[in-house]
Symmetry: C2
Subunit: 316 residues, 2 copies
Amino acid sequence: MTSIPSSNDIQLAHARILPHIHNTPVLTSQFINDLSGAHLFFKCENFQKTGSFKMRGASNAIFSLKPEQRLNGFATHSSGNHAQAVAYACKTAGVSAYIVMPQNAPKVKIDAVKNYGGEIVFCEPNETARQTACTKIIQETNALFIPPFDDLAIITGQATCAKELIESHEGLDYLLTPVGGGGLAAGTALSVKYFSPKTKVILGEPEIVNDTYLSLKAGKIIPVSQTHTMADGLKTTVGKLNFEIIQNHVKEVITVSEEEISRAMRLIWERMKIIVEPSCAVPFAALLGHKSLFKNKRVGIILTGGNVDLGNLPFG
Amino acid sequence: MTSIPSSNDIQLAHARILPHIHNTPVLTSQFINDLSGAHLFFKCENFQKTGSFKMRGASNAIFSLKPEQRLNGFATHSSGNHAQAVAYACKTAGVSAYIVMPQNAPKVKIDAVKNYGGEIVFCEPNETARQTACTKIIQETNALFIPPFDDLAIITGQATCAKELIESHEGLDYLLTPVGGGGLAAGTALSVKYFSPKTKVILGEPEIVNDTYLSLKAGKIIPVSQTHTMADGLKTTVGKLNFEIIQNHVKEVITVSEEEISRAMRLIWERMKIIVEPSCAVPFAALLGHKSLFKNKRVGIILTGGNVDLGNLPFG
């Protein structure tokens, strides 16, 4: 097994990226507490720079390198939030960002990458096309590759989000995040292990893309077979490193239907007056579907991002 | 001229309502500062209890009465946010709330009033029908009337919002609010006069319902002649008391088109990741239309509310 990031690694990462990120606010809602029967603490990464937690991992990956290692810039492939984060972190570092994006990425995410000065290369919306385009750019530019999720520097960066939530809100019974590629899920599991070992980590996953749920049952990675969920940040198969960590440190994955995702998202919009993207509503949907499990518990929920295409909303 | 609320009145009102309201957060956005060329401080009343600043005035009107004066409950007519605020404040006070609402009020606002335990009486969507229905209920129940805006207790309550913003953010060059009936506008003008006299108050108003703009020019109230703006909280003619205060203490009204309101609202949603209603985007739209006036200035903007019908949004 790969050696996992230590508590010291996470602490160093946090100190390293603090100048480049927000320590995001934690919101509560009396209405939502009453509705769910639990005490919920929403860690608002939708208010993070670039609109998602991905800024943490990207900043850590880039700023853990020496300035002379950064000169040729960085490259990545991403359907959105990781792309924005890499573009923004590169802008801060004063180097080039080469971003491979699928042609069907949401317009708001493409515009944001351009705004942050990223150079976009479009590709077909499949894994092979992404990797081919990314490899080509790296050969041409000598840019360094920043993986979207299955990487120690990324996991360590994402871990800082749960660390902040644990520090501001002690005694959480549960901590919930969504799981897609698993960088945030793995990082969260590690921060909980080190900084709040009595807290249980539960992951939310769309029923349609339930690879982590199936993989945990099977004891090995079962790749995604379909991806038509509205939770566009959770379409990827869980990463290898991430899966190792999740297997060892996560109790449970709860899956939710598209209808549950849309309803949970709408509740957050209407009652908390904040914009969250569909992927982000998945763990809250999981909680609403299992109220008895969380009854009267203190539950932290990471709201992962708020980058939605307002011209294409799931509300009727 | 009517004697206006004193600084002491506003301070007493603030102490009175503090147990019943949130001291709402003030948000900033680097992107929006860069875009506008000014330093903007958004006072987020969309996060206020019941989703709007109206909770301040309603709480002040109700809790400034002795418990024995509250026994028969309270009645009001409102297209939405004031209705929710009165219903919620009555629930807190443990008395009945009778709410006259036009049949075409947004569903999300009707549902919220019901949620807060308000008893709704629907009427035709015009001023006469509202007042007739409200008078009838008051005769039947002996409830006390809580006016939506043109009332000293309401003005004094709304004034606490600007007071909080001034206390948390010193040295504002401008303070912007929308103007509809004018309760918030008048209260803001008074708080600025007492607590930050160097700050200039500017009001934003929809071009289509520009009664305050016209009234200030004419030196007398010119009633609204059309109301088909998306800013559904700003359709009423400015109140008499409010107009007196606005005439004496406000420098300027800036009007904005429907297109400008929609664009400003979308910018706030996309960039700040918060839900604001169209009325609420009006002063920000006014600023975006007059960037040179606000260049490099410190500008407070009251984001008045976040109660929108997600099934009926102005985004394409």
